[in-house]
């Protein structure tokens, strides 16, 4: 606060600066704080601009307590309401009402609106966060009874009857199937998607625009249609059986536009200065893309790939139409139906059997964990802008530079020692990069 007051001092007393010999425009700084504040000294504590005041917190607590109490009264005494969801909604409405009234006791109208809006925004965000937490926790908790048994991970379901206990049968066939289908989908979609993204970024023109428009349009393709397409072509027309290969192709169709778009967005962010510098040094198109553009965007490209993988592993509807369903472990992608985790969860919970449902939730929880792992991986490798290096990369890059420098100096010294003896070998193209060549008075 005192800091704010000081500059006002000379303006308040214009005569004071005139009496001294200083020019009129010069600011006279007070020599000490006591001199700066001639009036009654205000307390020198800093004014808090953020944080809560006690009254605010009390209003919140009071409103919450009142709302809960009134709703409890409604629910227990005036009877016709039941259900936990209704209780939460009614008490939330009452909370907003009471909070508004409490705030209105000592604030003006804009402030009341501000507080109510803040309460609304916070509660909406809380609903979203709470739902996410509930979805994940519910799935894991319901699946836990099946997931604690080791056989859940080591057996398939082909000998497991409807009433078999949870210590029998598992999801190994679905895990294997999911991984195989994912591998096939990635093997098709990643090279094609990345190639198309590089094409969009590097070869501008009419064809590029057309590809971009179509890729954008195909991100709108409902995933079930990708499945239907593969079902109608590969299976009905070409006579392939329902298999892991067909499912992998369907997943590839689903994610190819996603991978391509995500990769293209990242490639576009590569600074133009870097590629131009590469061209200016004389490297061609291919070398520039391979040694400059792609390494610069590596982190973002990894993100695009993992994004596609996370999407592919969780998709159910394309797989539903193309993979068939089986209780047997099948590791042959071209022959026989294949199970995958989302499909297993979907089919198991459609049955009325309690243990099947538990296994279904277990499969869903396992799938969820798989997605979360991929997500953490994505955050670990990705999330950095183009050309921003991680600590390890930076260290390696610096070490490489040091090595290069050492090499150059070593060669320069060697040449200086044998310099008089013979000419510099002309066959090394990199000699133009040696520092020695740029020194004045070098030997030609």
């Amino acid at each position: 606060m005192t800091v704010l007051n000081e500059p006002l001092q000379p303006a308040a007393q214009p005569g004071a600066s005139g009496e001294t010999t200083a020019p009129a425009a010069q600011t006279v700084l007070p020599r000490s704080i006591t001199e700066a504040a001639p009036g009654p000294r205000r307390p020198r504590s800093r004014r808090r601009l953020t944080g809560f005041r006690t009254a605010d917190v009390l209003a919140l607590i009071g409103a919450a307590a009142a709302a809960l109490a009134i709703t409890a009264l409604l629910w227990t005494q005036f009877a016709p309401f039941t259900g936990i969801l209704g209780y939460v909604i009614v008490s939330w409405g009452l909370f907003v009402l009471v909070y508004g009234i409490l705030v209105s006791f000592d604030e003006n109208r804009p402030t009341i609106r501000d507080r109510i809006a803040a309460a609304l925004v916070h509660s909406l965000a809380f609903v979203v966060g709470g739902s996410l937490a509930l979805v994940i926790i519910y799935t894991v908790v319901k699946g836990w009874t099946a997931m604690v048994h080791l056989n859940f991970y080591t057996q398939d379901m082909h000998t497991t009857g409807p009433t078999a206990p949870l210590t029998h049968g598992g999801v190994l066939h679905a895990v294997v199937g999911s991984l195989i289908e994912l591998a096939i989908a990635m093997a098709i979609a990643v090279p094609l998607g990345l190639l198309a993204a590089v094409f969009l970024n590097e070869v501008p023109g009419r064809l590029g625009r057309l590809v971009r428009t179509v890729v954008d349009a195909m991100t709108a393709l409902p995933d079930v249609l990708a499945g239907l397409f593969i079902y109608a072509t590969l299976i009905l027309i070409l006579g392939l059986e329902q298999s892991g290969l067909a499912a992998g192709c369907a997943l590839a169709v689903t994610i190819i536009s996603i991978v391509c778009r995500a990769a293209y967005v990242v490639l576009r962010l590569v600074p133009g200065g870097l590629t131009e510098a590469s061209y200016a040094l004389g490297s061609g198109h291919w070398r520039t893309v391979w040694h400059v553009t792609l390494p610069t965007a590596r982190s973002g490209l990894a993100t695009a790939v993992i994004l596609g993988a996370a999407r592919a592993v969780g998709e159910t509807s394309p797989v539903l139409l193309t993979a068939g369903a089986t209780n047997y472990l099948n590791d042959n992608p071209v022959h026989g139906p294949m199970m995958s985790l989302p499909l297993l969860a979907y089919t198991l919970v459609a049955t009325p059997q309690k243990n099947y449902i538990a296994r279904g939730f277990g499969a869903a929880a396992l799938l969820m964990i798989l997605v979360v792992v991929m997500f953490v991986l994505m955050r670990a490798v990705g999330g950095r802008g183009a050309g921003v290096l991680s600590a390890g990369q930076l260290r390696r890059r610096l070490a490489a530079s040091q090595r290069d420098l050492a090499r150059y100096t070593e060669r320069a010294t060697a040449r200086a020692a044998t310099g008089a003896a013979g000419p510099v070998p002309r066959d090394a193209p990199s000699r133009w990069l040696l520092p020695g060549n740029w020194l004045p008075g070098r030997r030609s």
Binding site: F81, T82, G83, L85, G86, P110, R113, D114, A117, A118, H122, L124, A125, L132, L134, V135, Y138, T139, K142, L192, L195, A196, V198, F199, V203, L207, L210, V215, D216, M218, A220, L221, P222, D223, V224, L225, L228, A232, I256, S257, R268, G284, H285, W286, V289, L307, G314, T316, S317, L320, L321, P342, A345, Y346, V349, A350, A364, L367, M368, V371
Partner: protein
């Protein structure tokens, strides 16, 4: 003297590189165009036979009798509209919270969580919706029916308001519950687009609003929301496109019927994608063609919605930063 040619003379390796790139682009283009045209041509057979009745028939019985998208298209749109209505609130609240209210330290974490929410497989949402949410929403559905049953949308056929007798199953597997679950699935998509726009609201205008004495909400209403209006609409429409095509979560909740069901709280609903997912297996080649026709109609709808959304979103990024 002629103009000097500026065209680069490419080396052999660069020419090969360009050929490979072009090849990749063409393969992707061909693949995606193939999907679209194939859908179109296979659908043609059914469309040709059904003619205009394809748009007006409610029933779905391709092998004998009529089939049409009147019921399933309306069902799809109703589910998507419920989802977008709910998601509009949720997404706006989340986006505002993250960009305006949340402490700086946890902002990155919250953004990651929203992204994670978008990556949760739809079968997991479907499980939660069918097993956990459904039975808790029933009381809410009943309450809506009791007090707002006079609105045709909230009516439930055969049950009078305040009738406590009917079992809960009259309210399960409804369009409303499916819409709620889909709302959760599209909230992160809409929210992340909104948040991005909100956080780009110019700092000078924010500070100007504060300097004129605005409260935080006053600042949001006069600066942030007008700035992000395009992104809000665009983000919601992208969500709408996703909601129209959602299959598995909806399939796990609604029980499929083939008549126009305007009562969103009532048991039973209809959806194009669910029809495809549930009917392909026992379908004859002609029935597959009919499913393709329905799928084509759905694709056309999502395509239009997505294109409009993309245009709105790219227009809304005011200033020089807009690229796309």
């Amino acid at each position: 003297m002629g103009r000097r040619s500026l065209a680069a003379r490419l080396s052999a390796s660069d020419r090969a590189f360009r050929v490979i790139l072009r090849g990749g682009g063409i393969v992707v283009l061909a693949l995606l165009v193939l999907v679209g045209t194939f859908l179109f041509f296979r659908a043609n057979q059914a469309l040709h036979k059904a003619g205009l009745s394809f748009l007006t028939t409610q029933d779905w019985n391709p092998d004998g009798g009529g089939f049409g998208i009147a019921a399933i298209m309306i069902g799809t749109i109703l589910i998507a509209l419920v989802a977008v209505t709910v998601a509009a609130l949720l997404a706006m609240g989340t986006a505002l919270y993250i960009s305006e209210y949340a402490p700086r330290q946890i902002q990155r974490l919250l953004i990651t969580l929203v992204d994670l929410m978008a990556a949760v497989p739809s079968v997991v949402y479907g499980l939660w919706g069918a097993f956990a949410l459904q039975w808790r929403v029933v009381s809410l559905s009943r309450w809506l029916h009791d007090w707002f049953g006079w609105i045709p949308l909230f009516r439930v056929a055969g049950i009078a308001p305040h009738d406590t007798q009917p079992t809960a199953t009259a309210f399960t597997s409804s369009t409303f519950i499916a819409g709620l679950v889909v709302a959760l699935m599209i909230t992160p998509i809409a929210s992340s687009i909104m948040r991005e726009a909100f956080s780009q609201a110019p700092a000078g205008e924010r500070e100007g609003a504060y300097a004129l004495g605005a409260t935080r909400w006053g600042m949001i209403r006069s600066v942030v929301l007008p700035f992000g209006r395009g992104a809000m609409i665009g983000g919601l429409m992208l969500g709408l496109g996703r909601a129209l095509g959602e299959t598995i979560a909806v399939a796990m909740i609604i029980s499929l019927i083939f008549k126009i069901q305007p009562h969103i709280l009532e048991h039973g609903g209809s959806s194009i994608s669910v029809t495809i997912a549930l009917r392909y297996a026992e379908a004859t080649p002609f029935a597959v063609s009919a499913l393709m026709a329905a799928g084509l109609a759905l694709f056309g709808l999502t395509l239009v919605v997505n294109v409009i959304a993309a245009v709105i979103v790219s227009r809304s990024r005011s200033g020089a930063v807009s690229e796309a």
